[in-house]
Symmetry: C2
């Protein structure tokens, strides 16, 4: 397989026969949401771009990672709003298409709807419409609409060596939560639970300041690989990354005897933004972040195309992020095999294998 | 159950906890697509409304009604574009979220994508973006975006007694197709197959002329019931409705010894538009239709709230459309029971039971 990764190749195959819209301002893989010039210059004023994105919650339900119907609804909203955040868009609203199995429990339906409603309130947005169907498996597809008002687009593309890498908040809670559900056969609760919030206000601040941005919906290292491929760069993660992890998740991973960096490697994300800022804009960025009471987390630096280096087990390691990303995509054997493969990769790396 | 129908009640339950967006120009059930004032007056010019709609193709696949992967893709596009047509919108593009079962056949995936691509070409629009997932059951959710440029909205609401009822084209092919797949245990092909086209150009003509409009995605009588409930009216269908059915479907239904009006009653639609025009606008409408080479089909007349009357078996019958609509919604026993129930309703009606 080439370095672009299995999922990217699969998506490229899916879209190979599609013609590109003259309204699209973004190329495939280069932004978390599509940026659309809906009027094609038909309106005289400087019209905003429409940001649109769609995401389905089904796999997480089917595998048992999500068990609380409230979380199904919450995530159908937040996963989509997080993509809007990563392009710096202000939400206009969402459409929700839900497929319920026959005889699906009415109470569970009410909980799903409460999760949707509460997530919209939390993000100050609204459900605009939707659709219901019956089908074999429960599935919820959200589509989020947003506006980018001033033409300063935020995409995955644009960072250069020397830029500083940040996260919008602590990393690892997505994988910590997955570990709490599946870890070593003993299910336990992660203090504080798993209830990500799309970083909308932060994304708006980043527009016109950050040189690239994506969300960590599939985990930190998968997100980093997206930036790496699109920008043909590498990343050096700083010595003190472990201190910047989500505390509860770090304790959990340690109690399981697993290496903390797996919180970055696993494919269940925390829906933070990771982004880069050039040296010349760091002061501007610090002021803008402070203005909304936000303390972003510095993670490292953009380098030339030399991969991702991360201090692990007392030494600087180069991580094969494309390999890790591929592990999570259509791995025969499901989740158990996936975690085994991650641990095996850690052993090989630390033993120099 | 009250007269609003089970599906309407279910949707009302789903949205009960949602707050309404200040950007929404349409109330629930009153239009096929949502009409959204995306700028809330933030742009000085007379900005267009955004029309958005979402629809999932899963049930038709799960029940075996759709068996050709090309049709899955085609319908994921056309079902959504048909909703845009029913509000008179011009398509901007679509988002497609696809869930594939593990180990799903690569050739079938290519056929699905070809159906999507060809439907977009046929409608002169584009896929703007999407998402892929793995899950238990194949499912394709489309979301269509469109623009209504001149503020003259077309919705389900607005018709009055005396208006004339039309269809954009022959009715019955959706149910004819379903009969060809399932009918009496002998699968056969419907000449010409099933490949609906969204009536986009016709919807644009109807904007500012028709007093109400909806598409027949769930069959003609279900669509009529939507207009009946929203407008608190009734409909008299004209004597010669049988001549206006799709020819191949009519022959098929006769060869099965089934009553032709079941082509109107079944819940698998032909994706035509049904709409009403006031007497004072009939000349304007005739000219506008002729200007695009379109011959709409006159079906009957809007009446006071006295139900739907249809000449069947030599006599004028009043059809309980709410009952028929409910038959198709979550009927235990699936399709076989549904067709049995329709036939039984016909027997009761004709025998005066």
């Amino acid at each position: 397989m080439n370095s672009q990764g299995l999922e990217t190749a699969f998506i490229n195959r899916l879209v190979a026969g599609f013609s590109r819209s003259p309204r699209s301002r973004t190329a495939p893989h280069e932004s978390d949401a599509e940026l659309i010039d809906i009027f094609l210059g038909g309106i005289p004023a400087a019209a905003p771009l429409l940001a649109v994105t769609t995401d389905t919650i089904s796999e997480e339900i089917g595998t048992g990672l999500y068990q609380d119907p409230y979380l199904f609804g919450w995530m159908a909203v937040m996963a989509n709003l997080s993509d809007l955040a990563a392009v710096g868009a202000e939400p206009v609203g969402l459409l929700i298409s839900e497929t319920f199995p026959d005889e699906y429990d009415d109470c569970a339906i009410d909980k799903i709807q409460a999760g949707i409603a509460d997530a919209c309130v939390a993000a100050r947005t609204h459900v605009l419409g939707g659709d219901t169907n019956s089908g074999q498996a429960l599935s919820i597809t959200g589509t989020a609409l947003g506006l980018v008002n001033d033409g300063r687009c935020l995409t995955r593309k644009g960072c250069a060596p020397g830029d500083v890498l940040y996260a919008s908040g602590p990393l690892g809670r997505g994988n910590g939560f997955a570990l709490s559900v599946w870890g070593n056969g003993r299910s336990e609760s992660l203090p504080g639970g798993y209830r990500p919030r799309a970083r909308i206000a932060e994304g708006i601040v980043l527009r016109g300041i950050a040189s690239s941005c994506t969300d960590t919906s599939d985990g930190f290292l998968c997100a980093l690989d997206q930036l790496l491929v699109v920008n043909a760069v590498g990343f050096n993660i700083s010595e003190r990354w472990e201190e910047k992890l989500d505390r509860s998740s770090l304790e959990l991973v340690r109690s399981h005897g697993l290496p903390p960096w797996l919180l970055l490697a696993g494919c269940h994300g925390e829906f933070e933004l990771i982004f880069t800022v050039s040296e010349s804009r760091r002061k501007l960025f610090a002021d803008a972040a402070a203005s909304i009471g936000w303390s972003p987390i510095e993670l490292g630096i953009v380098t030339g195309p030399t991969g991702v280096t991360l201090p692990v087990g007392g030494a600087l390691r180069t991580i094969d992020v494309a390999h890790l990303r591929n592990l999570s995509f259509r791995l025969p054997g499901g989740i158990g095999k996936y975690v085994e493969a991650l641990v095996e990769y850690d052993h090989q790396m630390v033993s120099g294998g």
